[in-house]
């Protein structure tokens, strides 16, 4: 068997993998201080913006984010990942952290999020209510019950008595949105903030029953924090005027 192509492939694979984990070096003018924030994937755009503002307001501070599903982040934190602050997309995952006594100080709620129907741009299927999603011809994608957006979906289903027959139950809200923006699905259940961030690619349909399942986002400092003061400062910033304005612009509700 010829080995050379395999070696070339291996090399290519290594390169591809290596690209994923580069970190920006800090370029500090004042005394350099670093903060590592683990935040839920749904906070990616807002926390990136808040982080930039926070760095600008505090010269010398570098904030590094790790965005992933809340339960992934909890796993990493319990396995000893070096995080200073944890922002969860739901209370359940925050409870795992407090149960393991990894938090320093009590978690603070800083935002809420509710479900919204995302349809293909222009809403060609004419979805107007949650009950419309039960239409047999409609290809509906939801989150699986195991993840926060899926348990919220289940709560709404139970409250309304409408049973959905989705064509797919995705592991993350991003995957649901992806199926709608690519046109594979006619409609999907995502968060209000996802509809906002998707812009023109989807048309959102709000429904009153979404209030049955309000997702609350808590944030806490972790007791392994290398710079506890800075961690608290960041949390204050998120819960303060500046942070709250970024979050509400993105569609998050007040806690």
């Amino acid at each position: 068997m010829k080995l050379r192509p395999f070696v070339a492939l291996l090399a290519a694979g290594v390169l591809l993998t290596a690209c994923g984990s580069s970190e920006e070096p800090s370029e500090a003018s004042a005394e350099p201080r670093e903060l590592t924030v683990f935040a839920a994937a749904s906070l990616t755009s807002t926390f990136t913006e808040i982080g930039e503002q926070f760095e600008a307001a505090n010269p010398g501070v570098t904030v590094t984010f790790s965005f992933a599903g809340s339960s992934d982040l909890v796993t990493q934190i319990t396995e000893g990942a070096p995080a200073d602050v944890f922002a969860s997309a739901d209370e359940k995952n925050m409870t795992k952290v407090t149960d393991a006594s990894l938090n320093s100080g009590d978690p603070v709620d800083f935002a809420t999020n509710v479900l919204e129907i995302a349809t293909a741009a222009g809403n060609p299927a004419g979805v107007t209510s949650f009950a419309d999603l039960a239409e047999p011809d409609l290809k509906v994608v939801v989150c699986a019950e195991q993840v926060p957006c899926g348990s919220a979906t289940k709560t709404v289903e139970d409250a309304t008595g409408v049973t959905l027959t989705p064509v797919s139950e995705e592991s993350s809200v991003t995957d649901v949105l992806g199926k709608v923006t690519s046109g594979e699905a006619d409609a999907g259940l995502v968060y209000v903030t996802d509809v906002t961030s998707a812009g023109d690619e989807v048309t959102g349909v709000e429904f009153p029953e979404s209030s049955e399942a309000v997702n609350t986002y808590p944030i806490t400092a972790l007791n392994d924090a290398s710079d506890e003061e800075l961690a608290q400062q960041f949390i204050d910033y998120v819960t303060g005027t500046e942070g709250q304005s970024v979050l509400s612009d993105a569609g998050f509700g007040a806690p």
Partner: protein, 265 residues
């Protein structure tokens, strides 16, 4: 391919080579041992025989078997063309065959969506005919075939090149027609390479995750194969995820042993 009686070669090896080699081996063994250590052994059987786990395993085995069949149907002719014919652009063709090996699976899934999805290049027209691929078991098979086809083609092409054309030429001079040469001489000669290629393709199909998740979706019994089930269970039930991971590792080990055993025979 293999060097027999390698005692001389072994002694010629500088000793320090063993150190990075051992580190490399550790890189494989440590995560495997990690799974073994993490599995909740008293509940192992209930965890892997839960309704959702069994459904996912059965779906995985079925789809991987069908994709392996598809790989054979498409891959054997491809390998024959690559190894036995010559025309301009053959080198480029070989590079294209290699592509799914280096692509991140999620990119493969996106590419499949852009081609076969409802708004894709081909999918758009299929939709007009009332054929919809997304969210079906067929989509899982297509995604698996996409990623595992190179394994079969490469193995078989290598076997064809190693076998050479001597017997084929002799058969031809004796008056055998091309089809007869192919089925009576060429294929029996490369059968071991074909089998190991098929087994590798099956294993790759069984492990397929990214392209399936992106292109086919995830629904119990329809598109949620074992890797997708593991990914989902990990959210709420890490013990179940660990147990099912071990199950996949065991299947992978069986496959590797099967291929190695064949090579030695």
């Amino acid at each position: 391919m293999t060097v027999r009686g390698g005692a001389v070669e072994g002694s010629a090896l500088p000793r320090w080579v063993f150190v990075p080699a051992a580190v490399g081996l550790l890189l494989f063994l440590a995560p495997l041992t990690g799974i073994l250590a993490r599995v909740d052994w008293p509940n192992f059987i209930p965890l892997i025989t839960s309704d959702s786990a069994v459904t996912a395993l059965v779906l995985s085995l079925k789809t991987a078997a069908v994709s392996t069949l598809a790989c054979l149907l498409l891959g054997i002719p491809m390998a024959l063309v690559l190894a036995r014919s010559s025309f301009p652009g053959l080198r480029a063709l070989r590079s294209i065959v290699l592509l799914p090996l280096v692509l991140p699976p999620v990119v493969g899934g996106l590419a499949l969506t852009y081609a076969l999805g409802r708004r894709g290049l081909i999918g758009e027209h299929l939709e007009g005919l009332g054929i919809s691929i997304g969210f079906t078991t067929a989509a899982v098979v297509i995604a698996q075939t996409f990623v595992s086809l190179p394994f079969l083609v490469l193995s078989l092409e290598g076997a064809l090149r190693t076998a050479g054309r001597r017997f084929e030429s002799i058969a031809a001079t004796l008056g055998a027609r091309p089809a007869r040469v192919l089925f009576r001489v060429t294929m029996p000669l490369v059968l071991p390479g074909l089998v190991s290629g098929a087994v590798l393709a099956f294993a790759r199909a069984l492990g397929e995750f990214g392209a399936t998740l992106t292109f086919a979706g995830s629904l119990q019994g329809v598109t949620r194969t074992l890797p997708l089930e593991i990914y989902l269970q990990r959210e709420t039930d890490p013990d179940a995820a660990a147990a099912m991971s071990l199950l996949l590792v065991v299947v992978a080990v069986v496959v590797v042993v099967a291929v190695r055993g064949r090579e030695r025979a």
